[in-house]
Point group: C2
Chain length 531, copies 2
């Protein structure tokens, strides 16, 4: 190892970090002293509350340049302790201005990261209690709360009872992200299949999704060692609003079987990332049943909508799926990270993921009539956070009705936005809105010298560079669309209205003042070019 | 989907959960209203500070029976919002008593989950800001702080400069857990190897560790699709204190090569879980170099000790490793979860883990002379938390010197405990202590009718059932040992002293009063049976 560089220089970059005068030099304070915890905790709560109050003062999408932060911070950690006020000062000066503010009411990019006071409180307890429920015994009530809350949520979403612990064979687990959830279910399906075929057939395994599936599916397949040539990303088209074609799936599976390959896993999506497309779960589940494949339903974004009965029809047929996941941190008022995964067959999951090291052996886990859950065997990692606490806080603090009302509020705002877009003939809603996300674009006026995709790329970049809103894009069927996703908790109608005015103003600027002035005329003539 | 069950009954299990009177029925409060956040946040801070003050009032290891919590909670989520006081009441009544209290000063089990006010504050900001730095652009200063803090920590640990970003090719990333870290490096090594051999050779890949490696290594290999028959867990022995044998490794690799297999990955450990054994990194790294294999150093527990120069010799040779990981949540005062992973070759990691979906494309990531980090390509998942904040808080709040002093304090307490064990001839220190964990056991008096392993199993179970301490066990070289791991932040010398008195008292009870009274005599004669 290299030799220690003992004299670290705190101020080598001219920053504000200073060393405490350390009045209590002789009194060594415990790093978890309850009273210091209380004092500093209150300070931080106020800091964050103030941030929420002032959040619209920051550019939504960071205006930072690459490498900017390194110029402001020392090149090494301080030798001596620094006071909390120095740290908060630096956060105010250097960190906050360089963030992209996901909680800003003007953040409409990606899928929103929903957050709420209730979830925050639960997260705070999760961090504060700092228990590790990897086995039941290592923190029984933390494990049991997770199972209970997963049953609660499954009922609230009206999921089939086969996904509940009360079914005896199904159950739910909190993962960090969808990628982990898909990976775990794929490993369960892989193990189930290879036990029958022999592990030497691993390179013949084939997975299926539409070309609209999230990149997490591709990543999970890569990690699980599925050969790139056995990764089927089946084309979709605008005529079916980019949903997974059951007939194409059936045909592809049949061809693969004829070639001696082993189809074993299908990933369907309710609410795709690009355009919130909904795959036909019922038809796909029939095919999965027919060929005995594992069907996972990725409803990372839209799954939360099933808490409202009017959105449940999108999940018709889910009783034929083997597993389903959704990100409570996307649209269920829960801070990152919190991905809910339910499976019908616990045993398939745990037989693929369990390890049984001596140091974790205990009577409860080893008993013959095992009636405890060891969540370490439901996920990639051993250690895990007490995530159930935040989901429990959210469900109780808001109640089913409160969450329904938040989701409906977002959908309503998205409907209005869709209406505004449709009402301006310079723009187009590219695919019909399903939930709270609108895919739109600016149409190129006749004779416009550049590609319409490039025009929209410039429009989006201009909007984001303004710092006043943040949106993101997708390309569906070759068409570059601007995604306007409503779901940041602080967003209200007036933010949406302002965002739309901003889009129009930027379009004016982009098309040139003349074009802007020509707007009325254009509206009358409607000669916009969709090509 | 099943039909909605609209009338949820909150009080079906006779619990205390009540529905708010909902005075503000007509005023819809935003779920992230800053003032409500402030009020409830302060309440929670006090709740947790009180918990720390009273933590020793709880049984350390939960005394709960399987299924107990379900009896106390309703079978479904409430329809209407519930007030925070009801939730906190239930936490006090049902959750806290059912936890195993990892932060208790009497928690000596597994490896301690270190936590500190500083880390908690950082975690609180991570939850409160709720940004998602998956690409640089999606929150630049969050990404950059992570890179900076990983360089800071690498310097503080005196890691080779090739692991730093400043080297141009290396760098660090915060993962959740060691299993993820090992998995990611194994995938990097797998990809690097298969690109040369062709992906059809995947079933010939072989991985190596000693039989003392953490089960996470086995799990990572399973996930990565390494055939169980190609998983080499090489035996260790008490004569080398259970460390990895370089000669056995070399011999096994040679045999595998002769059999036409493809060795590609070695996992070495500094501070094994069972007995904190230290593998000879220098010799292992020479073998890795000779055969061109990826050597990962798992120092989940002991890596943090390298912040003290006197422990750095255990890491000699790490400059020959390809990657190293440690859990800051184990011994670096950081709340769960926070696993630090450094690699020498960023490109190997990202080429195995990157995906490039259209919706995340942006100028900074796509620029030819890319000078930003997109951490999504350094890990399994896409989404990720702003974990750097807590590590930064810890490094600044305590400074290098503060952290050194905490670690040295733990080691000192462990030394004293080791001395106390050694001073009582009824007991034995099974392997010499290296860091802050002592492996000991009770010896069976001559003629004792049961196996000494069973005697210790009963001793441990009795201690844990008392609720006054929590310890765990391991089996090394066939010997059942009680692991006494010091590292819970609140632990002070008097807690350790009390724990030892408790161990002796339980031993007295177990051996019978007579045996207890015979103690002096036995000490003189020393006729304890180690068999």
């Amino acid at each position: 190892m290299e030799q220690e560089n003992n004299v670290f220089n705190n101020t080598s970059n001219g920053t504000t970090t200073t060393t405490t005068t350390n009045k209590n030099k002789n009194k060594k304070q415990n790093p978890l002293d309850p009273e210091e915890f209380r004092n500093h905790g209150h300070k931080l709560i106020d800091f964050i509350a103030d941030y929420y109050s002032n959040i619209t003062n920051y550019p939504v999408r960071s205006q930072a340049q690459p490498g900017e932060l390194r110029c402001h911070l020392p090149v090494q950690a301080p030798i001596s302790p620094e006071p909390i006020d120095s740290i908060l000062h630096d956060i105010n000066s250097f960190i906050l201005p360089g963030l992209t503010h996901w909680l800003s009411p003007f953040h409409f990019a990606y899928f929103p990261s929903s957050a709420s006071t209730a979830a925050f409180l639960g997260d705070l307890l999760c961090s504060g209690l700092n228990v590790i429920p990897f086995t039941w015994l290592s923190s029984p009530s933390a494990t049991e709360l997770e199972s209970i809350v997963m049953d609660w949520l499954a009922k609230a979403l009206a999921l089939p009872s086969s996904f509940l612990f009360s079914s005896g064979t199904g159950g739910g687990v909190l993962q960090g992200t969808t990628c982990e959830a898909i990976l775990c279910t794929m490993l369960a399906a892989r193990e189930k299949t290879l036990i029958l075929t022999g592990h030497h057939r691993a390179s013949d395994l084939v997975v299926y999704s539409s070309d609209q599936a999230h990149s997490s599916f591709q990543k999970a397949a890569k990690i699980a060692g599925i050969l790139p040539s056995n990764f089927r990303s089946l084309p979709t088209s605008s005529s079916t609003f980019f949903s997974f074609s059951p007939s194409l799936l059936r045909q592809t599976i049949s061809e693969d079987l004829s070639s001696g390959l082993i189809p074993f896993f299908i990933c369907a999506t309710v609410g795709t990332t690009s355009s919130t497309a909904v795959d036909p779960i019922k038809e796909l589940s029939l095919i999965a049943g027919e060929f005995n494949l594992w069907l996972h339903v990725d409803s990372a974004y839209a799954g939360s909508a099933a808490i409202c009965p009017e959105f449940r029809h999108y999940f018709d047929g889910v009783d034929g799926a083997s597993s389903l996941s959704l990100n409570a941190h996307k649209w269920l008022l829960t801070n990152l990270d919190c991905c809910c995964l339910w499976v019908k067959d616990q045993a398939a999951l745990t037989s693929a993921l369990s390890t049984d090291p001596e140091f974790l052996k205990n009577d409860a886990s080893d008993s013959k009539d095992k009636n405890v859950v060891d969540y370490k065997d439901w996920q990639v990692a051993l250690s895990r956070r007490f995530r159930a606490m935040k989901l429990w806080f959210v469900l109780r603090s808001h109640g089913i009705s409160g969450i329904q009302s938040v989701i409906r509020g977002h959908v309503e705002m998205a409907m209005k936005f869709e209406g505004m877009v449709a009402g301006d003939r310079r723009f187009e809603v590219v695919v019909p809105r399903t939930f709270a996300m609108v895919c739109f674009r600016l149409l190129a006026p006749e004779g416009w010298p550049e590609e319409v995709n490039e025009l929209n790329r410039r429009l989006l970049e201009g909007l984001n560079k303004s710092g006043r809103v943040c949106m993101s894009h997708a390309v569906v069927g070759g068409v570059y669309v601007i995604r306007f996703a409503i779901g940041a908790t602080l967003t209200e109608q007036h933010h949406v209205d302002l965002a739309w005015r901003l889009v129009r103003r930027h379009a004016d600027d982009l098309l040139g003042n003349v074009a802007g002035e020509e707007e009325k005329e254009v509206k009358e003539n409607g000669n916009y070019n969709r090509g």
